[in-house]
Symmetry: C2
Subunit: 410 residues, 2 copies
């Protein structure tokens, strides 16, 4: 990776270095949502960038930059979207760039509202961390046989609710629902076991036809980029409802995503090997080479008016099943995917107790509450708590970061 | 219900009597998809109907009639859509109607292609037939405790795949996938246990805000109409994959719907009481009055080049949980629904073996194969088989029918 030196003002350690350039949808007061690119503490206002003519070679209709989602832009194809990103990178490094004199091109992030970056056609949630699946299995089922028999043979997943995916910063109402306390009768009321789940999601960038599976060897071409994903969960609702058809209202009240889609091109230098899979997967799930990504992840909780406390550190590289395996499996039956589909990883837990990706695991089902800076304890989330997830690959002036996904419980 | 006598030519026993007037999207050769209304063997070409001025009082933009889905029309609200339907009914009964002389208003169904009537934002599948849940529980779990403990306390449901919902007549490719035969290792290959599921689905006609549940007392206002729904299922794939997160690839390869949305106004005369619910549901699920609908249902199988055989007769009125209970439950956690959402009933089985709604139940897991007219046997579906579902309320010249939903296995 050759070194890039930008004339743009980019703070040291910014998530949005010149090596990143993620895509998002933003608006400023009194203006319509439109496409932007994060650079340091600023957003490149893409309709203005395009109006300078520096992207004319790509023949992109002006209207694309003014859309309220990235779907139509992504539909242009990786050839185009990746080339546009490279062009912007060059321009931000060229001392003579016409952008350099145009202050209106750079919108201060503090003055921008971020929106959901894509229209999510369908949302799928996987369950691909072996540590998380094992922890949950130990707590809820049989400690001796924590993993179910299918788990190592296929990336277990389920369909989630697309309509309730919200952008970072959206407050999350504590859900009401039906739960069954102990041996008593079912009751209705607010969830008493509200949890976060530390996940990442990839965004589908190309469609297949219904009936035509995506081979694992081509699956990468169908992945546009990634976001941080907080799969809020009401454990008590989930526990009572989930047999035999899986999670439903325990999840569908909200899922929060970070606003910037980091491209696979930006993450390319951070490829790492997947964990060894034993037993070996069936041929349609078999791949070689480096199919995971080294992305540091952390979660903190900030009580209302209190101090932030980091409660876990994890890494995307712990995933047992890779994104290309997930996508090949998802479509092996002919299921069609759409541009803007989100496919979440499932909770990403590491092997150590301080790397678990949910309160359920961190507090081990409430048996080991977490102590906050103000002395209060948490088995699950309290009203007023803000959960913040962060994630990045690389370091110093080469960081490829995701920013944050936050949400306050109200 | 006063008697309506139409001047239009409507065959006796037509599903599409003057009392029905369901909405759909059709096209003719060389023309764009647009809104139509079924009447007898014809389709009212709504852009042409609107151009006569007879709907001017509703101030509906002309562009709405030329949309490729009904979503924007439905968004006008029940006040409007129901009044338009009543206006059409009056016009089709008025001897002096201007439509009577305009032959171009009536498109012969034989010359029309039907399209998916709505863009399905999210799709949910319930599991609300007590006979079906009991049958499946007996076969797969414990015959003595076939119903799981939550089943009588809440309408169990799960999120399904919206992208693979197709309109009646679309061929269905037999899915490949991972299955686990007996005690052996998992294998990859075509499903050997392809099944239909006889269901109906309702279409959501009004949105709620994320965080704002829909009370059971207002839920009817959010239901626009209904369709027949064939939830194709690959039982062998489903059986291996479904723990602990529910059905996934065993369902997501295709679901077929009938093309005409029958409105709740048309079904109003066919209300019947729900089955008695014991134990009584929690207050948020409690309703009184007649909340089910008497809709006769049947399924037949036609082998390639062979004769059709009816394999089951059922009725929507067998549903234990009503549609309004489903919708109140779905949103009790604040989950937002969208116009065009489809919510399917789950397989609708009656209490007698000849009223079961799936091959799994009809052949009792393959133990009692069905004999076809040509002497061949079916435990599950074979390639070339066409499955046809029919459904209607009422009779003779007052039928409120759904037409058919068909699909051939290829």
């Amino acid at each position: 990776m050759h070194e890039l030196i930008s004339w743009a003002s980019i703070p040291e350690n910014s998530d949005f270095s010149i090596y990143n350039l993620p895509w998002g949808i933003f608006s400023t007061r009194g203006s319509e949502p439109r496409i932007g690119v994060a650079i340091g503490d600023h957003i490149l206002d893409m309709p203005i960038v395009a109006s300078t003519g520096i992207l004319d070679e790509f023949s992109i209709p002006d209207s694309i930059w003014m859309k309220p989602t990235l779907n139509d832009f992504i539909k242009l194809g990786k050839n185009v979207t990746s080339s546009v990103r490279t062009r912007l990178q060059q321009e931000l490094c060229a001392p003579e760039s016409s952008l350099r004199k145009m202050r209106e091109v750079f919108v201060n992030m503090e003055n921008a509202n971020m929106h959901l970056p894509v229209f999510v056609r369908d949302y799928t949630d996987f369950y691909s961390s072996i540590e998380h699946a094992t922890n949950v299995g130990k707590m809820f089922r049989d400690p001796e046989n924590a993993l179910l028999p299918n788990w190592k043979h296929l990336p277990v997943g389920y369909h989630g609710r697309a309509s309730s995916i919200v952008v970072s910063g959206t407050p999350v109402k504590r859900p009401n629902g039906q739960t069954k306390p102990g041996d008593g009768s079912p009751v209705y009321g607010p969830s008493k076991a509200l949890d976060f789940e530390l996940e990442m999601a990839f965004i589908v960038g190309q469609e297949n036809m219904l009936g035509d599976p995506i081979s694992i060897h081509h699956a990468e071409e169908y992945i546009f980029g990634m976001v941080l994903f907080n799969d809020w969960s009401a454990r008590d609702i989930q526990k009572w409802e989930y047999v035999p058809l899986g999670p439903f209202l325990g999840k569908s009240f909200a899922s929060s995503v970070s606003p910037w889609i980091v491209t696979m091109e930006a993450l390319e230098p951070y490829r790492v090997a997947s964990p060894v899979q034993d037993p070996k997967p069936l041929p349609y799930l078999k791949h070689s080479g480096f199919n995971n990504f080294d992305i540091y992840l952390e979660v903190s909780i900030t009580p209302a008016g209190g101090d932030e406390k980091r409660v876990t550190r994890s890494n995307f590289k712990y995933m047992y099943w890779s994104m290309v395996q997930q996508l090949a499996h998802h479509t092996v039956n002919g299921c069609n995917v759409s541009i803007g589909d989100m496919m979440a990883s499932g909770t990403i837990s590491g092997s150590e107790p301080d790397s678990y990706g949910s309160m359920l695991e961190l507090s081990w089902g409430g048996k080991k509450p977490i102590t906050m800076p103000d002395g209060s304890q948490r088995s699950f989330l309290l009203n007023g708590d803000t959960v913040t997830m962060r994630g990045y690959a690389g370091r110093e002036n080469r960081k490829v970061g995701f920013g944050t996904v936050t949400g306050q419980i109200i």
